[in-house]
């Protein structure tokens, strides 16, 4: 395969890389004033990449996909679909940022910096590489590119203690996880003699040596950190709470999608011939994430922290699809991811829209009391997201849960499905608590009206997507997810 062809297949990443470098220079010379221009250009670049990804996804000419750079990178529908989700999340994270940074309390760094969109773009490149990686090398480079950008983003408000703390914690623990991952990769390479997913899979077919098993576990542990699955979740609440809200929005969506997609690809393409080796661990991680996410969320008073636990909880449900280790499970995970991204984007943007009279962000759940009266539209939207996150029909969140449970049942993991359903009841408690506070508690009169049209549009779109109207999209989404999931299983 020629280099030119390879370059063509990585077009989304090339677009983003070139624009990222350019924007960095613009930002350097333009200063704070250029933040708006840089943001617009970054969003444009992300849109361009999305267009390319969409083309790859829908154009029959690319139905088979293709390998680039000598089997280090693969273009397929799975990668293109997840890239689309990542880019959309990145675009939203950039759009909602200026309003937040321009109004940060304290005012010392109270201005949007041009580095923000640039870092998001770099993270997006990394994540694009992650979801397309079919080699441990590409995997690691993509992961680190994303992580390094993320560490900086987490502590973006560097004068804010919580933000700095979030960045530091994320960095240190991320470094630890990265080390674990790297160690696992070296073990895998040592015991199979290759870094290529397919080759690893072939090597595993003849049996699994202890060293390779160690490697497999270490690699999965590293991935579990990125998807914040129990017991590698500890950083999540602190980082989500401390990081600036637009960054949290980004963390809760794009890297989750990328890491989950990468985990799926690893588990299926690289470790697919030794499902028994990792299935039980995934089952445990899934259940633990559901339970710990739900139990941890119950005591929370900060809505960002609550949403952090909610994301842990949802990752658990998504992993049930992985535990099924079949095509239906992979398809269910992808559908769930799409719905999850919409729900999470909507919730965080709604949180971002909560400001008191002084313009400070409102994050305490108790301050939401009476929101149904002061901001009925926003309260209704939050209620929709909460109901959907809780998986209550007829909202769309239910469909995702239904699909993963169905896949689990198909894979004869009936106990897992039953336990998951039972545990989802616990989760419903804290989602409903938010709704109860908004609709039934004595009004706290904290939140004031917001005039942000972009927020309103994003919230409305997300709410529309997760509302029962979303079910109209099931044929389309289901079809795409099925094709993408099938792409994972071609190699086997």
């Amino acid at each position: 395969m020629s280099v030119g062809n390879s370059l063509y297949l990585v077009a989304p990443e090339i677009i983003l890389s070139a624009s990222g470098l350019l924007l960095l220079l613009i930002g350097a010379w333009g200063g704070f004033k250029s933040a708006r221009l840089v943001s617009i250009l970054a969003v444009t670049a992300l849109f361009a990449s999305s267009a390319v990804a969409l083309e790859f996804l829908l154009n029959p000419a690319f139905a088979e996909g293709g390998d680039a750079f000598f089997g280090q990178y693969r273009l397929d529908k799975f990668g293109s679909l997840t890239k689309l989700l990542i880019y959309i999340s990145a675009i939203v994270s950039i759009i909602i940022a200026p309003r937040f940074f321009d109004n940060v309390a304290g005012g010392r760094s109270a201005v949007m910096r041009p580095e923000y969109p640039v870092l998001i773009v770099f993270a997006a490149i990394g994540m694009g590489m992650m979801v397309s990686a079919v080699d441990l090398m590409t995997l690691y480079i993509g992961l680190e590119l994303n992580s390094l950008a993320a560490y900086v983003l987490a502590s973006f408000l560097r004068n804010d203690e919580r933000s700095a703390e979030a960045g530091l914690k994320y960095f240190v623990l991320g470094g630890l996880a990265s080390g674990i991952l790297l160690f696992g990769m070296s073990l895998l390479y040592g015991f199979t003699g290759t870094t290529n997913f397919n080759a690893i899979n072939q090597a595993f077919e003849s049996g699994l040596s202890t060293g390779a098993l160690f490697g497999l576990i270490f690699v999965l542990a590293g991935m579990a950190f990125k998807i914040s699955a129990v017991p590698f979740h500890m950083w999540t609440p602190d980082v989500y709470e401390g990081a600036p809200t637009p960054v949290t929005t980004f963390f809760a969506t794009a890297p989750k999608v990328a890491a989950l997609a990468l985990t799926m690809r690893l588990a299926i393409e690289a470790f697919g011939s030794q499902i028994a080796a990792w299935q039980q661990i995934i089952i445990f991680i899934a259940l633990a994430s559901i339970v710990v996410g739900a139990a941890g969320a119950i005591g929370q008073t900060n809505i960002k922290r609550l949403l952090a636990y909610s994301s842990i909880n949802n990752v658990g449900f998504i992993l049930i699809g992985l535990a099924a280790a079949n095509q239906a499970g992979a398809s269910a995970m992808l559908v769930y991811l799409m719905i999850y991204v919409a729900m999470t984007l909507g919730s965080f943007v709604a949180v971002l829209d909560l400001r008191d009279a002084d313009g400070n962000q409102v994050e305490e759940i108790s301050s939401l009391a009476g929101l149904s009266k002061s901001r009925p539209g926003l309260a209704a939207a939050i209620a929709i997201f909460m109901f959907s996150l809780a998986g209550i029909p007829p909202l769309f969140g239910f469909w995702g849960k239904f699909l993963v449970f169905e896949a689990a049942v198909q894979a004869d993991l009936i106990l897992l499905a039953a336990l998951g359903i039972a545990a989802s009841v616990i989760g419903a408690f804290y989602y409903l608590k938010v709704i109860k506070v908004m609709y039934f508690d004595e009004s706290a009169d904290v939140v004031v009206k917001s005039d942000s049209k972009s927020h309103a549009v994003i919230i409305a779109l997300c709410a529309l997507f997760v509302s029962p109207l979303g079910y109209l999209l099931i044929p389309v989404l289901g079809n795409i997810a099925d094709q993408a999931a099938a792409a994972l299983f071609w190699a086997l």
Binding site: V3, L21, A28, G190, G193
Partner: protein, 144 residues
Amino acid sequence: MLRSGADLPVDSLQGQEGNDLTDLSQYLPILLFLGIALILSAAFVFLPMGVSRLTGTHNPTVNKLTEYECGFPAFEDSRSQFDVRFYLVAILFIIFDLEAAFLFPWAVSLNEIGWTGWVTMMIFLFELIVGFAYAWKLGALDWE
């Protein structure tokens, strides 16, 4: 079980499970070098000490006995404040140092990888230069 990934293409590694132990002989020169390095470094450390002990006067003071390293006092409260610019410089140094580290294998194998390799490295260098320019413009290189 050791293997050098650097000098063998990935594909040819399959099926070489049998001669794991014989491979070790290839590392003998390194071992020799290691020994020589150890001897030489020990000589550089201990020879001056021995010579000075034998030739000079022995008159220690507190300052003389203090370890001298990186400009810091060796023992003090770890929570002391220091200038973050040290780290900035250090990090920049590491980045460009690694760049140089990449250049060596690239230069050695330039014959094999041809123009594609050359262009790739130029792009890599360009990216580093962009970063360098950014750091420079933002004043990361100015001490004051």
